[in-house]
């Protein structure tokens, strides 16, 4: 075993692991009391990784998912985005915890002919109650009665006072992009995959010599989690029951849960709305050392007057300053790290303020350095020998999720702040050889060095919060002491905690194979019909 040395940023051989003081729960689905009132602006997951689609490794893919728990059959309105909101993806390229670049999405929903589809009924032109009157095969189909579109602002500097320029639609011209209608069902859209692929647009990014790509539309949920059981006081034995994982032999922890899609409440059950962009690496790294931080937020105008005579265009009248109501970077932070009394405050906060108290008096750093989840697990399973780590403050968690790890994914300027950080100089791992455990699984291109769809952040976070980083981890195949804490600080740090919900049930050790091997990576959404096609 060796002690982790300081390593060169590129061509490194050492690894780092993220420390999230968050366990395995839905990444950020309905995670705060206030946001449950505004599902259209509820961010659920944020991914950031070097594109592993063949020949695209010079790009970064950012994925921000919104509107959790979309039932595929959720008609007649399905899940449009909020035209009064702004949805943003922020990039910090120099480590000061302030956005240097923001991609800001503004949505617009319109009815065909101002009424939607209308039929002549006994001489009266009567608008129908549905979004379509016949099969839909492409954008602007005459059978479609409601159309969704969006524009993208590229903002350099502060998100509200910076330099704003429009992203251009290289494929279709202009600065407006079409969004596909949700997957109503197979009778309405016979080949949804082909239909949705027509909405992957090439975009011209101001100041960037190479075009990027953008897709906004419904996708199948990609976050795997044993949601019901975990929230029911962890109503399962959260330790791997097979040896090795996925062996199906029950030779692991006696009575421990084993990997199965049957343990997952999201993949294959619900859809989500995805904002996905692919941007050249050189256009987001700025003058930094190649490590970038990223997060997503959504904001609404501060003042709203409900209209007692609402129209399609104006059910309410909004005005005033954009006020942030959702914030998401690392998974699970607001879900299970931030206290109930401060979740709404977190959603309104920005990374620069993470050392400043939220409502209730504790800061993000306070919650992370003295997390409650390990104590909860000790309360629930202490009789079976589970012990929470005792290295307070939890430098292993704060140092890694708030600063990145020196020599791996730490920026030149270190401003402690909760943010996913990606070292754009680390080579991608092809889909076929990714480890669902990311860096902990000796896969340096995975979580917490950015986050890919196939990374099992639930199991990773469970183990890390229970002190896995206090024990040596494999780095290039060699057990390596990260120097963050000692094994004695985390008596349960080597336990293979799991919620039993693998990202991929075809390969429980490689979640990437669950998804597409091309932008936008997340899968075609579950159709609302026929019944046999949905869970």
């Amino acid at each position: 075993m060796k002690r982790l040395p300081q390593i060169a940023m590129l061509g490194m051989v050492a690894t780092s692991v993220v420390a999230l003081s968050a366990p395995a729960f839905a990444s950020s689905h309905r995670e705060a009391p206030g946001i449950t009132e505004s599902p259209k602006v509820d961010a659920t997951d944020f991914y950031m990784f070097r594109s592993y689609e063949p020949a695209r490794d010079q790009f970064i893919t950012f994925i921000a998912n919104y509107q959790p728990l979309q039932a595929p059959y959720g008609g007649p309105n399905y899940f449009t985005m909020d035209p009064d909101a702004v949805y943003e993806i922020h990039v910090d390229s120099d480590g000061d915890a302030i956005e240097d670049i923001t991609f800001q999405f503004n949505f617009d929903n319109n009815l065909a002919n101002d009424t939607g589809i209308a039929l002549d009924v006994d001489g009266q032109s009567t608008p129908i109650p549905l979004r379509a009157v016949g099969p839909i095969a492409a954008a602007n189909d005459p059978n479609q009665g409601e159309f969704e579109s969006y524009s993208i602002n590229h903002i350099t500097g502060d998100r509200r006072s910076g330099i704003i320029a429009s992203v251009s639609n290289v494929s279709g011209g202009g600065t407006t992009f079409d969004k596909p209608i949700d997957n109503i069902g197979n009778k309405t859209i016979a080949d949804y995959e082909a239909y949705a692929n027509g909405f992957i647009h090439t975009m011209g990014i101001p100041g960037c010599p190479v075009d990027g790509r953008v897709f906004v539309g419904q996708r199948e949920e990609g976050f795997a989690v044993n949601l019901g059981e975990v929230f029911d006081l962890v109503n399962l034995v959260p330790v791997e029951g097979d040896d090795p994982r996925g062996a199906g032999n029950g030779a692991g922890f006696p009575g421990g849960i084993t990997q199965s899609r049957d343990n997952d409440d999201l993949i294959g059950e619900f859809n989500v709305t995805t904002i996905a962009i692919e941007v050249p690496v050189s256009c987001v790294t700025g003058s930094g050392n190649g490590v970038i931080g990223g997060w997503t937020s959504a904001s609404l105008p501060q003042a709203n007057i409900l209209d007692p005579s609402p129209t399609y265009e104006d059910p309410s009248v909004y005005g005033g300053a954009f006020t942030q109501v959702s914030r998401l970077s690392n998974p699970l932070i607001n879900e299970v790290v931030i206290g109930l009394d401060a979740k709404d405050s977190f959603n309104a906060s920005e990374p620069l303020s993470d050392l400043t108290p939220l409502s209730g008096g504790l800061s993000v750093a306070d919650f992370a350095s003295r997390p409650t989840l390990p104590e909860i697990l000790e309360v629930l399973f202490g009789g079976a020998g589970v012990q929470a780590p005792n290295n307070f403050p939890r430098g292993d968690l704060v140092a890694t999720f708030a600063t990145g790890f020196a020599g791996v994914n730490q920026q030149d300027t270190v401003t402690p702040s909760e943010m996913v950080r990606l070292n754009t100089g680390i080579d991608v791992t092809p889909q076929a050889t990714q480890s669902t455990f990311g860096v902990v699984g000796d896969d340096l291109a995975g979580f917490p060095n950015g986050r890919r769809p196939g990374d099992d952040v639930v199991d990773i976070a469970l183990r890390v919060v229970m002190g896995r980083l206090c024990h040596p981890i494999p780095v290039g195949g060699v057990d390596t002491d990260l120097g963050l804490c000692a094994p004695g600080d985390a008596p349960s740090g080597l336990i293979e905690f799991t919620d039993g919900a693998p990202v991929s049930d075809a390969d429980v050790n490689n979640g990437a194979v669950q998804f597409q091997n091309a932008f936008p990576y997340l899968n075609t959404p579950i159709p609302g019909s026929p019944r046999s096609a949905r869970p």
């Binding site: 206030g34 009132e37 505004s38 302030i98 502060d158 509200r160 006072s161 609404l300 105008p301 501060q302 003042a303 709203n304 007057i305 409900l306 209209d307 007692p308 005579s309 129209t311 104006d314 009248v317 909004y318 005005g319 005033g320 300053a321 954009f322 006020t323 942030q324 109501v325 709404d344 405050s345 959603n347 309104a348 906060s349 920005e350 620069l352 303020s353 400043t356 939220l358 409502s359």
Partner: protein
């Protein structure tokens, strides 16, 4: 405006101020709504989208009669 100041205001104004109440009496339009809900609300409503949010603590709209007919802001 500095980030610190904006952050403070953001903390104080976590959500859009939703006022589903009505002023007593009739009248319509956003102006009537603002008259009913008070000057602080009017300031918030009329702020530029890129301004920092205001602190709603000073808003006196809570004094409006919740049982009166809603104002039509159209």
């Amino acid at each position: 405006m500095t980030m610190t100041t904006r952050q403070k205001l953001l903390t104080g104004a976590a959500f859009a101020t939703v006022l589903a109440v009505a002023a007593c009496g009739g009248g319509g339009g956003v102006g009537a709504a603002q008259d009913a809900f008070g000057a602080p609300f009017a300031a918030a409503f009329n702020a530029d989208a890129n301004d920092a949010p205001v602190d709603p603590a000073a808003n006196d709209a809570g004094g409006v009669d919740a049982t009166a007919d809603p104002i039509n802001p159209a």
